[in-house]
């Protein structure tokens, strides 16, 4: 790192230390915070001008180098801060400033930055998971509106959302990829219904979103009609380096080590087994981090990393699943207990505090190898795009 980068890192560290809201330090930030609480840090970053590292300066980005962006990502995730809502800041925002018109940029970008609008993603449908190009939600032009009908699913935090960006079919006769458009829909529109999906960890994170004769102004179409697939693919490519989750994994390994130390006596042979298992995961993290640094260095030199995101997604999620599983094992019998949701400090949970979220994290982490393009799909991508098989 250059002296400037070191200074930048120290600045970020100090800022997190001095400004991260105490209120957000709850046992499981992903599930235990209200919408308002989870936006606290977002608003602090917004005021600082750090909310959208990826965005160009003209739209409100901080104008950082690739290395600085990477440092920021590393420091915030190492510190365990709740990242600003990805659907807003890293997903729909860049699509709008890249492909949207001036009116859309003016209307939506400032509200994304300030946290005024909460976005969710209308991609998956019951019949379209891995095979996203087959989305069937229909948008039919009617004067200066589209009439939208369909059923989106696995929509993360739709219960909080003000807006949803949707892949909709506008040309039923074209080839699957060519008849899709990218449409922005106000969640308050008549005909939009959100139904919770409760997952195996008992949390309410995802939803079904039903769209029945929803009237969407034509001005909410992003880019050109029937070009939505291009924008969707652009958006997925944006996640690149954060997928490896090095900071998060490093943080959870630290916790795991403390748990093993507290739970398993040093003279118990299981202690050594845990140390060995942890060491193996640490080496996995080290190798992935080194790969990430190599890719970041290449990107800084202007080299397109290609489908590196797939590699990061596969290994990053596998590593985090290993960590949550090992943590769940480390707490021994306490792994049988699980917090009830909504979480409440008044409900009794057995065992030490550090074990209270281990079961739900373990269960919740099963989704990682499924969502965002299952790990099977990511392997297909590497097989085709890298190995040319």
């Amino acid at each position: 790192m250059s002296p400037e980068d070191v200074a930048f890192r120290d600045e970020v560290r100090a800022f997190i230390r001095d400004h991260y809201p105490e209120e957000m330090r709850v046992p499981n930030p992903e599930t235990d915070l209200t919408k308002e609480q989870s936006l606290l840090w977002h608003r602090i970053l917004y005021k600082k001008g750090w909310i959208a590292p990826l965005w160009p300066k003209e739209y409100g980005g901080p104008g950082w180098s690739i290395t600085q962006r990477f440092i920021f990502e590393q420091e915030t995730s190492r510190a365990g801060t709740l990242p600003p809502l990805a659907f807003s800041v890293t997903m729909v925002g860049p699509v709008i400033y890249t492909f949207g018109n001036e009116a859309q940029k003016k209307k939506f970008l400032p509200r994304i930055l300030s946290g005024q609008d909460w976005w969710c993603q209308g991609y998956s449908e019951p019949g379209s998971g891995s095979d996203l190009a087959t989305v069937r939600t229909k948008a039919v032009r009617d004067g200066d509106h589209y009439i939208v009908n369909g059923h989106k699913t696995w929509t993360t935090l739709a219960q909080h959302a003000d807006w949803i960006f949707c892949l909709v079919r506008t040309d039923p006769n074209a080839k699957p990829q060519s008849g899709i458009s990218f449409l922005l829909i106000d969640m308050k529109s008549p005909g939009v219904t959100v139904r919770p999906i409760i997952t195996i960890d008992a949390s309410h994170e995802v939803n079904d979103v039903f769209l029945e004769n929803v009237r969407v102004p034509v001005e909410n179409l992003v880019g050109e009609e029937n070009k939505g697939w291009t924008y969707a693919k652009f958006l997925l490519g944006n996640e690149r380096t954060s997928m490896a989750g090095i900071g998060r994994s490093t943080r959870y390994i630290g916790k795991l080590k403390q748990i093993v130390k507290a739970e398993i006596p040093a003279d118990d042979p299981a202690h050594l087994e845990f140390l060995r298992d942890i060491a193996r995961i640490e080496l996995d993290v080290l190798a992935l981090e080194a790969t990430e640094l190599r890719v970041v260095a290449q990107m800084a030199r202007g080299i397109d990393p290609g489908p590196a995101a797939s590699l990061f997604k596969i290994r990053g999620t596998e590593i985090f699943q290993d960590i949550t599983e090992l943590t769940h094992r480390a707490i021994g019998n306490y792994g049988l207990a699980i917090r009830e949701h909504p979480a409440s400090a008044n409900r009794f949970m057995p065992g030490p505090d550090y074990g209270h979220t281990a079961s739900e994290k373990y269960l919740n982490a099963r989704k990682l190898s499924i969502y965002g393009g299952s790990n099977e799909i990511q392997r297909n991508i590497i097989a085709k795009a890298v190995l040319r098989l």
Binding site: S124, S130, I198, R366, E376
Partner: protein, 376 residues
């Protein structure tokens, strides 16, 4: 070797199957687990009426003499239906201990209440520092007349909120991790000085932390033999838990196979993708091996082979890893649906995760298998 069931065993299996098919489908089970008490006394009574609670006990003890094979048959079906009622805790663990080491008075006093379904039992051996070690006991018991008085705390006691009696391990002599000096006691769950703090488990059951302050209990088995008794009890429980796991594994494989033949993506069923075919073949192999090992263990439990305890640990480990593999892949292959509370797949996943913790995880039993092998 493949177990050929006798006519009686076939009858037992088909009657359990019929009962569960009629009264314990996934929605019924969901309602039971979500109810105030978290289990169904009505179902428990139905199990008693069908003779399930009597099946493994010897005829001497008033049972049907079905032994470990009847437990295997019952638990295999219970695993398929994710039954939450405390058969293992009451019949296999407590019933087994009372039958094997209880005094004639204790056998006559306690077993009829188990068999007729009026009394529920739980086994309280886990403590804060015990992890999977029966000998790590800080709870103490001192003799007073014919009774003992217990002081201490137990944690993670499955089924304790439902129980009428607890079997509690407590130290009558020795230091905190000494194998000797641990004894077992029968304690009335409503006894003065006994308090519960209840909570839910990941597999939809109920458990509790138990605190004991000057609680009166009666000795079960000889003083100082508690660890050996618990080890024998664990072997029997493993027979039941592995059968339950194999039942769950079979259901997961069937559900996954079915899903892969109907779920279409990229214009074809996902079961036509070779990478998923191979995955499901490995799941099939895992089920076959687990099933065989389950039978092997249950037969050995019946004959009381000398290497029994080592075999039990081996089976717990091997079937544990098999269950984990199958459960992971069943969720993965079901995609988002596998993550939902609505579908049964995630619930099998959670039960298998829970089985893998109870009485020691697969890694613990692998090590024990190795150690007992080296000692032999």
């Amino acid at each position: 070797m493949d177990i050929q069931f006798t006519e009686e065993q076939e009858l037992l299996r088909s009657s359990v199957q019929r009962l569960l098919r009629d009264q314990y489908d996934f929605e019924a089970r969901r309602k039971i687990a979500a109810s105030e008490e978290g289990f169904s006394r009505k179902q428990w009574a139905a199990f008693a009426e069908l003779g399930l609670l009597a099946a493994p006990f010897s005829e001497d003890a008033g049972g049907l003499g079905g032994g470990p094979l009847s437990t295997m048959i019952i638990m295999h079906e219970f695993g398929r239906h994710l039954v939450v009622e405390p058969f293992i805790e009451t019949v296999v663990l407590a019933g087994g201990l009372v039958e094997h080491v209880g005094t004639p008075e204790q056998r006559q006093g306690f077993i009829p209440g188990i068999i007729d379904g009026t009394k529920i039992w739980a086994l309280a051996w886990t403590e804060k520092a015990s992890r999977f070690d029966f000998a790590n006991v800080a709870t103490r018991a001192r003799r007073e007349g014919n009774d003992y008085v217990l002081n201490g705390a137990k944690t993670m006691v499955i089924a304790a909120p439902w129980a009428d009696y607890l079997i509690v391990s407590a130290r009558t002599s020795g230091g905190e991790r000494d194998r000797g000096g641990v004894s077992l006691f029968v304690v009335d769950r409503r006894a003065a000085g006994l308090d519960l703090q209840s909570f839910k488990t990941i597999d939809g059951r109920r458990a509790a932390d138990v605190s004991l302050r000057e609680v009166r209990g009666q000795l079960l088995g000889r003083e100082g033999e508690g660890v050996a008794l618990l080890e024998a009890g664990r072997d029997r429980a493993i027979g039941a838990l592995t059968a339950e796991a194999v039942g769950a594994i079979g259901e997961l494989n069937a559900a996954t196979l079915d899903y892969s033949k109907t779920r279409k993506q990229f214009g074809t069923t996902i079961g036509s993708f070779q990478v998923l075919q191979h995955r499901m073949v490995d799941m099939f192999i895992a089920h076959q091996e687990a099933l065989s090992l389950m039978q092997h263990l249950s037969l050995s439990l019946g004959t009381g082979d000398s290497g029994l305890s080592r075999l039990a640990s081996g089976a717990k480990s091997k079937i544990g890893y098999a269950g984990k593999f199958v459960a992971d892949q069943a969720v993965q292959l079901h995609g988002g649906m596998g993550m939902t509370d609505e579908l049964n797949v995630g619930h099998y996943f959670k039960r298998i995760s829970s089985i893998n913790i109870q009485f020691g995880d697969p890694a613990f039993h692998l090590l024990r298998y190795a150690q007992l092998g080296a000692a032999a």
